[in-house]
């Protein structure tokens, strides 16, 4: 069907394209191992002449361990919350009849289209008035429930047979226990997809933490990196590239292991 020359050409074009796409990452990692002097040289060098971990060491002279921990705690809490709240609500929407169900679903669905900036200021006002500004909970609370997560979980539970529910009732399992003991254990694949997407979103979240956090004890990695990159003194490229590598590398490693779920998650959200 496809003639014989075309695949070779396709491979060449794709490979060239792939090189273009991943060069910034390669450049970042190589750069993080160079000295400041080498980073400023004209013309630039490819491989580091004297590879050094000095940039990373200097990174951890600052409380980067703390930032890393903040990022991880926030991302884990947001992910767990999303899985928990969305799966309960998603299941109820998929299989149970209850008052106001349609209204609630339409409300949540409607909020999918509303840009983050619309809710941004009132959320900030709310957090300040709750006395939570510059705390870790302020970075978690507004993201515990997300319309997209409910949508995904509802679609997933719709795909599970309703007969399980009937069978549970016949066996005398309580209505809520049916969810926790029968449906929830089957939600592994949906949890993997939603969990990865939520974790990633939280790990990379930038604007909200930037506004809400004002002291080192609550900075997350992206905020800390943004703040050193706009520092007063001469730009310390080595430090910045090491910081960028530190943010990207854990996600990249996880991504390479679980890329099937990452990609499935995006694709699933697209088809339905």
């Amino acid at each position: 069907m496809i003639d014989r020359r075309r695949p070779v050409l396709t491979y060449i074009v794709l490979t060239a394209f792939l090189l273009l796409v991943i060069t910034p990452f390669v450049w970042m990692i190589l750069g993080s191992l160079k000295t400041q002097g080498e980073l400023l040289r004209v013309p630039p060098t490819w491989l580091p002449e004297e590879p050094t971990l000095d940039n990373f060491r200097r990174l951890f002279d600052r409380p980067f361990g703390r930032y890393f921990q903040n990022s991880a705690v926030v991302a884990i809490a947001v992910t767990v919350g999303n899985l928990f709240f969305s799966s309960m609500f998603g299941y109820a929407l998929a299989h149970l009849h209850f008052p106001f169900k349609r209204v609630l679903f339409l409300l949540v669905l409607g909020c999918l289209m509303i840009p983050g900036l619309v809710t941004f200021i009132p959320q900030y006002v709310l957090i300040v008035n709750l006395g939570l500004a510059d705390t870790i909970p302020a970075l978690i609370l507004p993201f515990l429930v997300q319309p997209f997560s409910v949508f995904l979980m509802r679609q997933f539970f719709l795909g599970l047979p309703r007969e399980l529910l009937e069978a549970g009732r016949i066996d005398g399992v309580g209505e809520i226990a049916i969810f926790f003991r029968i449906y929830l254990p089957l939600a592994g694949p949906a949890f993997a997809t939603l969990g990865i997407l939520t974790f990633l979103g939280s790990w990379n979240n930038f604007l909200w933490p930037l506004v809400v956090s004002s002291s080192e004890s609550t900075y997350t990695l992206p905020v800390a990196l943004a703040l050193i990159s706009t520092g007063q003194n001469q730009t310390d490229y080595g430090l910045l590239l090491a910081g960028a590598t530190l943010i990207v590398l854990p996600i990249l490693v996880v991504f390479l292991f679980f890329q099937r779920y990452f990609i499935q998650g995006i694709a699933t959200s697209g088809i339905k």
Partner: protein
């Protein structure tokens, strides 16, 4: 394997009430419906409460705010403010920087969206039909920028685009081109940001197109090929019509993303030089930073209205075709 009779005995008797025995099962059914409703409400409650507080309420308050003169000094008493009618909306339209930001956002959308979709579709087509080996490697490679933090991306790209020893200008120098100061020059800054955004986002549309392409009928393709249709004709007449729902989805979500263009200018150029890259969302954020909450609220709602119009228009356009 269960025999038909075994499964029949295991399943419950059909629910229709027999003659003369209607009251007891009906009561039991009513009880069950009540239990189901209670469970549904209980399971929904945690989400709905948090949603009401952290999303629905802010949406309403934002609208209220956009009609008031709320400033940062009112943060402790957000409802003790004066109504100013449409003043904030009028102020937005009369502000030359906001108008500039709206034009810039239009340029982001008009150039960025087609580029992102084309790159995503091209990559998906190549991976779906042209390539069997290494497909996973390409797919993962193209998707990698999507999972990357914008702040890290900004650091690396600012470094790549440095005028003196950046990689881009070094490579251009090999072929005798004297590269510009990409981010510092009014004429190239916007373009640089768009290229970066396309680089970062086309992987998402590629993945969605890859899923959509599975719906294309291969037999139709082969039949068209036998009839002498060229690859381009087959693409136009077989592939494109089959992936129309996917196309609509990608168009709508990509447009919504670019209409809210924020992070790239924020971390790369702060909107400069001379407002050349400021976007509507970024300027809204600046107004928030200045403490003009009412004006910022109006600008946020204007963006929302534009997003709504663009989305509806795309649905119309794709349906009528």
């Amino acid at each position: 394997m269960t025999t038909p009779s075994a499964s029949a005995t295991a399943s419950p008797s059909p629910p229709g009430p027999g003659p003369g025995s209607s009251s007891a099962p009906a009561r039991r059914r009513g009880h069950r419906a009540a239990a189901e409703a209670r469970a549904g409400l209980l399971l929904s409650l945690p989400f709905v409460l948090l949603f009401a507080v952290f999303i629905a309420w802010p949406v309403l308050q934002s609208m209220f705010m956009s009609f008031t003169d709320m400033r940062i000094s009112d943060i402790r008493s957000p409802f003790a403010v004066d109504f100013v009618g449409l003043d904030n909306y009028i102020a937005a339209f009369e502000d030359p920087v906001f108008r500039r930001s709206a034009v810039n956002t239009g340029v982001f959308v008009l150039i960025g969206v087609p580029l992102t979709i084309t790159a995503g579709l091209a990559a998906a087509l190549a991976l779906d039909r042209g390539v069997t080996r290494l497909r996973g490697v390409f797919r993962v490679g193209f998707y990698t920028p999507v999972v990357t933090s914008i702040v890290a991306v900004a650091v690396v790209w600012r470094f790549l685009l440095r005028p003196d020893n950046g990689l881009v200008n070094t490579v251009l120098g090999w072929v005798g081109i004297d590269g510009p100061n990409w981010l510092g020059d009014e004429r190239t800054a916007l373009l640089s940001l768009i290229v970066m955004a396309v680089w970062r986002n086309f992987g998402t549309s590629m993945v969605i197109f890859l899923a959509g392409l599975q719906a294309v009928d291969q037999q139709l393709h082969e039949a068209a090929a036998l009839d002498g249709a060229s690859a381009w004709q087959r693409f136009l007449n077989v592939t494109l019509p089959s992936i129309r729902p996917t196309m609509l989805f990608v168009m709508v979500t990509t447009s919504i993303g670019y209409l809210q263009f924020f992070e790239e200018p924020f971390v790369m150029t702060q909107g400069g030089p001379l407002h050349a890259t400021i976007s509507a969302s970024m300027y809204t954020y600046n107004q928030f930073g200045f403490g003009n909450y009412g004006v910022a609220g109006a600008m946020a709602y204007l963006t929302f209205i534009v997003i709504g119009i663009v989305t509806l228009a795309q649905f119309r356009l794709m349906r009528e075709k």
